[in-house]
């Protein structure tokens, strides 16, 4: 399968690979996917007192599209408010990266990772967990 130039770029030069201190209350961690399915994404956000995401990091075990989806997600998250981050839809990622239909699940996983990281942050800070809007799998 031919990958789009944007996927190749994210794969070759992934943005924001790394780890934030998950013990901090300002950090939310989302770990989604499963090794036996061939993709696992860990996405982390650091949120300041104004509910702005100041940093985002990822690590992904998966195909090029999965790596690119999570790399792109971290790029988009930085500087957004938590509410704005919640509005990121997987189809935005599909469009930006020109993912073919068989790779849409990679974008779904990235959206799940964002929401799961936000929920982790909310729970840590005494807020109720949000219901995951879609069940994709």
């Amino acid at each position: 399968m031919a990958y789009s130039d944007k996927v190749i770029d994210h794969y070759n030069n992934p943005r924001n690979v790394g780890t934030l201190d998950k013990a901090k209350n300002s950090v939310g961690t989302g770990l989604v996917g499963a090794p036996e399915c061939g993709d696992v994404m860990r996405l982390q956000i650091e949120v300041d007192e104004n509910q702005i995401i100041t940093d985002a990091k990822f690590k992904t075990f998966g195909c090029g599209s999965a790596i690119a989806s999570s790399s792109l997600a971290t790029e988009w998250l930085k500087g957004k408010s938590v509410d704005e981050a919640l509005a990121i839809d997987n189809m935005d990622i599909v469009e930006e990266l020109a993912l073919p239909p068989v790779k849409i699940h990679c974008s779904v996983l990235a959206e799940d990772a964002i929401k799961s990281a936000i929920n982790d942050y909310r729970v840590k800070n005494g807020l109720p967990a949000l219901e995951m809007p879609k069940s994709h799998h």
Binding site: L31, T60, C63
Partner: protein
């Protein structure tokens, strides 16, 4: 000088040997006759060329030229052998024994047999990829008509104990068919010494052309027959109708002749190169060879690199052409059933690469491949949450993964 990408997927197909192409060329144009035309020189030349190819092939596998049935490839040969025996020997029984690690051409044909009233036993393999001979013997019933077990596996290269299997088959009066697509032309295959009754193989896995293959069908001790699966002019002793693919057959013949002549030299060179590649790649932490290293084809190795995903790895090794045990093409990812049958967990199966070397692979190409794979694995592990957890001593099995 290296040309990219470097081709290391020779279990999928091999390039045509230029000597084979040269032998084929005249049969596309000047000598274009139909081998079944008995009335003129065009037909006679074509028939002569086909007969010569039969001899070249027979000489490689030690059979009579009359025992070679030409087909379009190994998939057709597998179908003809299994369905043909099932129909021909219906009065004797309806039970076939095979293994879980066969090629799809055998497995799907067996599934078809089950749909039309046959019974099939799928023998498991051990972690090495080998069947248990005692299990085989115990699976035989008075209804068993065929044992279908591959010679060398396409994904891991494991060679089954062919002579022991055929001895059991002979003792119990059951026919033995082997899909030897990966073995013929690569290692010595002798249908007499190996006790094989039917054998499938094809041209394009041994530097011959695509679209041509053969089924060996034993004529003596016992005399084996298969029911034709295509109706027509009754070519190939009535077992396979259809105008013979003369240039293809000439190519297959020439490929067999070269294989016989170069096998010893090729095997020594390829196994040394394969061993070097394998030894170097095993210096990567948490990497494992899949399948038996003792009973194996000389030009193949299948290695899992834990904590990196196969398709991501394939993208990282874009300068070499290899196959992955992962098929990440849908929401429900299917890891290789062969690796699963060897007992690999899904994540290890997803993390595997298959390297298949050829007569044309060079030491320089292997050097490049070693470094290329090492770099890609290191880069992906840097990005892998699983690798980080492993390094932190977290047991991945202790994590409740989302239902995906």
């Amino acid at each position: 000088m290296l040309t990219f990408p470097i081709y290391l997927d020779n279990n999928a197909t091999t390039p045509l040997d230029p000597r084979v192409l040269e032998a084929m060329m005249p049969y596309f144009t000047g000598k274009f006759g139909n081998a079944a035309s008995r009335n003129h020189a065009f037909g006679w030349h074509a028939e002569e060329a086909v007969d010569y190819a039969r001899e070249q092939i027979a000489s490689l596998i030690n059979c009579s030229p009359k025992e070679i049935i030409f087909t379009s490839g190994a998939t057709e040969s597998d179908n003809l052998a299994i369905k043909g025996v099932f129909e021909m020997y219906a009065s004797k029984g309806n039970h076939i024994i095979t293994t879980t690690t066969e090629h799809k051409a055998v497995l799907d044909t067996c599934k078809h047999i089950e749909k039309i009233g046959g019974k099939v036993t799928y023998l498991p393999v051990n972690a090495e990829g080998l069947i248990d001979l005692q299990q085989l013997e115990e699976a035989i019933t008075d209804k068993t008509i065929l044992i279908s077990i591959m010679y060398g596996n396409n994904e891991v290269g494991v060679i089954q104990p062919i002579r022991e299997i055929s001895a059991i088959a002979k003792k119990r009066g059951v026919l033995f068919f082997t899909d030897a697509t990966q073995a013929v032309g690569k290692i010595p295959v002798d249908v007499e010494a190996d006790g094989i009754d039917l054998m499938a193989f094809s041209g394009h896995k041994m530097y011959g052309p695509k679209g041509v293959g053969a089924l060996y069908v034993r004529r003596k001790n016992p005399r084996v027959k298969v029911t034709a699966q295509m109706d027509g002019g009754g070519h190939e002793r009535g077992m396979r109708s259809g105008t013979l693919n003369v240039p293809g057959i000439v190519g297959l013949g020439k490929a067999c002749e070269i294989a016989k002549q170069d096998m010893e030299k090729d095997t020594a060179r390829l196994s040394a190169m394969r061993d070097r590649l394998e030894k170097e790649l095993l210096t990567i932490e948490e990497s494992y060879v899949n399948g038996s290293r003792e009973h194996r084809l000389p030009h193949v190795t299948n290695i899992s690199f834990k904590y990196v995903e196969g398709e991501g790895l394939m993208m990282g090794v874009k300068d070499i052409a290899v196959s992955s045990g992962s098929a990440c093409t849908s929401a429900s990812l299917e890891p290789s059933y062969v690796l699963k049958a060897l007992g690999l967990s899904d994540d290890l199966a997803h993390s595997s690469l298959r390297f298949g070397l050829s007569r044309f692979t060079t030491e320089e190409e292997i050097d490049f491949a070693i470094n290329h794979v090492k770099e890609a694995v290191a880069k992906l592990r840097e990005m892998s949450p699983l690798w980080e957890m492993f390094k932190e001593g977290i047991d991945l099995n202790s994590i409740e993964w989302a239902d995906h």
